[in-house]
């Protein structure tokens, strides 16, 4: 009996010490992923970026905060692409799973919902995948945006159109969701400032399946330039139908959809279509810390068998920024980490990042820039080339696009 008691005590000691050992050395980051639902594709790409960062950090011994090393541990749930689930799950991540820091879900609508919870509990959240700017103008204290805000999504495209065709007639056709609407509002304003005429300005329901009537409307309006779209399925359908219906346009820039490597499966319908992107594998940023864009791209491709898009790069970049702030502050105390993030003015593989410290727009991204990429034929294959800004271009602009 004594032997058994000894064994039990020994087992408990080992278990207890292991538990204590684990608790001291891990940093828990909580977030939701849209494993199911319409946002699945982009959200999982973002998750891969997070995972690669976590594995790189842990392989190097963890995040160094003062004289402690913290291994990164994720707690994640499937939010099913639904705001209601985001609300429940972030509450759970904070209250039950005791997540010390948070990443946001993917997409502006879900980020807005998660922010309500993270701010309520006073937690730090790095927002990746949320470009709609209104969320960051509500006086948040712990929210930090990595993406370029939606206001600047089509700025590059407008400048390009102006330079190629100063009297262009623009059709602005966009999906009726918070992100696309934010882009549309800014685009209206900026096209007016550039002196370009808007001949059609319309939104469509996000689950629109057939665009033939809309395309007829574009033809009727006499537009020669189309800007807009929304997210993935509607953008791809619009691109295909534009091709089938020979809409006679000189320039088409669509949001989000053409950025996915899968857009190339549309074949001829994809050629010439341009997309503003938060990031492209060919960018030549020189990072202050972390891997270069080329290193990241190579390792991502090797691990996941697909070229990284901006969702994955954003995930990795967001993790790097958290890591840097913890290392600089020497602790995992949220207030100290937030102070470091406020001071940060750095370049990573993701690009330049600097967060607004104005209380009214705290955390809004100020420094990150969009690139414009275009699908072009190269050696019989469709590839994405960076065409704008000209300083970062890897190929000349193909105008008219088709």
């Amino acid at each position: 009996m004594k032997k058994l008691q000894l064994l039990v005590v020994a087992f408990l000691c080992v278990f207890a010490s292991a538990h204590v050992y684990a608790a001291e050395d891990t940093l828990t980051i909580g977030f939701t992923v849209s494993q199911t639902g319409p946002l699945n594709l982009d959200s999982i790409a973002q998750l891969h970026g997070f995972e690669m960062w976590r594995d790189d950090v842990n392989a190097a011994g963890g995040i160094k905060a003062g004289d402690k090393h913290y291994k990164v541990r994720f707690v994640t749930y499937d939010d099913q692409s639904q705001p209601g689930r985001v609300q429940q799950l972030y509450t759970r991540l904070i209250a039950e799973d005791k997540a010390q820091f948070l990443f946001s879900p993917y997409s502006s609508g879900l980020v807005a919902t998660a922010t309500v919870i993270s701010e309520q509990y006073g937690k730090l959240m790095m927002s990746i995948g949320g470009a709609e700017p209104q969320t960051y103008r509500l006086g948040n204290k712990g929210l930090f945006q990595t993406y370029t805000p939606a206001d600047h999504y089509l700025s590059g495209a407008l400048e390009l159109v102006k330079s190629k065709n100063p009297t262009a007639k623009i059709a602005l056709v966009y999906s009726d969701d918070p992100f696309s609407k934010a882009v549309a509002i800014a685009t209206r304003e900026q096209s007016k400032q550039l002196g370009l005429s808007l001949v059609l300005d319309e939104s469509y329901p996000p689950n629109q399946t057939d665009f033939s009537a809309i395309i007829n409307k574009i033809v009727s309006s006499g537009a020669d330039t189309l800007l807009g779209g929304g997210h993935y399925p509607d953008g791809a359908t619009l691109a295909r139908q534009l091709h089938d219906q020979k809409a006679n346009l000189k320039w088409v820039t669509l949001l989000v959809a053409p950025d996915s490597p899968q857009f190339a499966s549309l074949g001829a319908a994809a050629q010439g279509i341009s997309v503003p992107s938060q990031w492209a594998p060919q960018v030549t940023y020189k990072p202050d810390f972390g891997p270069t864009p080329a290193e990241f791209t190579k390792r991502f491709q090797a691990r996941f068998n697909i070229a990284p898009g901006y969702h994955a790069a954003g995930g990795y970049g967001g993790g790097l920024l958290f890591q840097r702030a913890i290392e600089q502050s020497g602790s995992i105390d949220p207030a100290k980490v937030a102070a470091e993030l406020d001071k940060m003015n750095a370049t990573t593989l993701w690009g330049a990042t600097k967060f607004s410290t104005d209380p009214k727009s705290h955390g809004l991204q100020l420094a990150h820039q969009m690139v414009l990429t275009q699908w072009q034929m190269k050696n019989g294959q469709l590839v994405k080339e960076v065409i704008w800004p000209l300083a970062a271009a890897t190929a000349p602009v193909a105008y008219p696009y088709h």
């Binding site: 199911t36 007829n216 993935y232 399925p233 295909r240 219906q245 549309l266």
Partner: protein, 289 residues
Amino acid sequence: MFGILASIVDGVLVGAVYGLAAMGLTLIWGVMNVINLTHGAMIVAGMFGLFYLTTLGIPAYAALAPVLAGGFAIGIAVYWISVHRVIGRPPLMSLLSTFAMNMVLIGLGTAVWGTALFNVPVALPGITLRGYTFTGTHLMAAVLTASIAGALYLFLYRMRLGKAIRAVASNREAAELNGIPTTQVLALTFALGVALASISGALIATLFPFTVLSGTAYQLKSFVVTVLGGLGNPAGALLGGIALGLLEGLITPFMPVSWTTVIEFVVFVIVLIAFPRGLFAFVRHARTR
């Protein structure tokens, strides 16, 4: 002016496909009083069927026949798994049963394919008039829809098996007493409904790219069309689909596109209240009640 005409023609062409999608739903609903909530998943199954057959090198329109056959086989399986035991029970049970099946199928689909976009590149020469193009694929889809609808009509009204289906729909007990194997007829009807849904999915896939979740939007339209055309009325479903497409084509040139769904559902509610047997109840239907 021509732009409006072009929109109307486009609307009718796409509406025919909505009608085909709804025919399967209305047949099942009318004959066995089962609201088939796997309808959307079956449409998606047809889309994927076409995609994989075309990657094997089979031309798109030739692949429609195997999709029809495959849909039929799947329909038999779904019938025995989730529908057989709930026929004759309160409608809520069949609703829940098929809803659960749908969740399983969509969940499996998302696990396998994610929400990746699939495209079947089909190119047919279209007709271009005054800058507006009517794509060959839309025209072909409308022609095929009309043929399938015609074939279904002939089956239901001229062939023994079709008449047996209508008999079971009218009065199951009397049909049983007349020596009609009603369970098998019901299974057949369900499978036929699913086959129609899957071939409509295949035709839709020749027009637009799709994801695992694409079925939902068409399922919703199918409900609207079924109400417009009258329950159990396949000819009515086709006419209802065309009417819906016509409505969409008429609205879009004059109003922001986002109003289309609002108006569609206002019409839906009006028809439900004022014409409960459908706008096209004067056309002969599977149910004689």
